[in-house]
Symmetry: C2
Subunit: 124 residues, 2 copies
DNA sequence: GTATATGCAAACAATTTGCACGCCT
DNA sequence: AGGCGTGCAAATTGTTTGCATATAC
């Protein structure tokens, strides 16, 4: 995989935020650095970066969000303000227990808790 | 909410399978009973049934799958055969523990384990 | 009788793809 | 030099919506 200006910039953007951006948000961002980049290029690069495991992708509310942190963590989604928070929570033990019981080979897991976050609770 | 022939049929189909069907699969099924039903009607009904909490919806690989079992359970997705299995696994205790620690109000949770299922392991 | 649901087709939004050209290595 | 990456626009796909008609209650 080659590293074009576009690809480097996209990777940099995803890595440098913890806001779990969508392709469109990333597109707007890259355009500040690479004004005439096309949306197709953004999609192609995001896909390639995911395939090469340099970033992760997850679907929330039917839209794909990208995540630059590759460590073992899970997510909390506030149904009020639609923010996706990182949960510093490892499921390694939990998952290996399930593996033993069922005989599945587990490659990854994906826990998302939905609810109302602290700041939204205060607003109500 | 009224119960038209179409709506009854769609609910029946989703309730009577554990294969987590997509809208399109359901559309093909309903057409056997209601030949000139439209795809739009299928989508409208699925949405309404989800809104009224008669069925559940979850996104896997960017496509919405519907689930007629409302009990507390989670899912295992085989990345080899793309089957979504039910996991008879309650996360109630686990989740309430996290709630206490972080102060979030949790409305629901969604765990998906990805890997290779037993029959796919045997095939390889 | 009236509100709600339907079929149909057009509109949408997110994403993918074909193609000719351009740039990394 | 050769292959991978790009920009652009058109195509796909999954889903939603507007409208006139039909149906449940």
């Amino acid at each position: 995989m080659r590293y074009s200006k576009q690809r480097k910039e996209i990777l940099e953007i995803v890595k440098s935020t913890n806001s779990h951006p969508t392709a469109d948000w990333i597109y707007e961002r890259v355009r500040m650095q690479v004004p005439n980049i096309s949306l197709g290029t953004v999609y192609r690069n995001l896909r390639q970066l995911v395939d090469n495991d340099l970033i992760h992708a997850r679907t929330v509310n039917g839209m794909v969000h990208y995540d630059g942190s590759l460590g073992d963590h899970q997510h909390f989604y506030c149904t009020n303000c639609n923010t996706l928070y990182d949960l510093d929570l490892s499921l390694e033990d939990f998952v290996s227990e399930i593996t033993e019981n069922l005989g599945y080979v587990i490659h990854g897991c994906d826990l998302q808790l939905n609810g109302v976050c602290n700041s939204c609770q205060q607003d109500q």
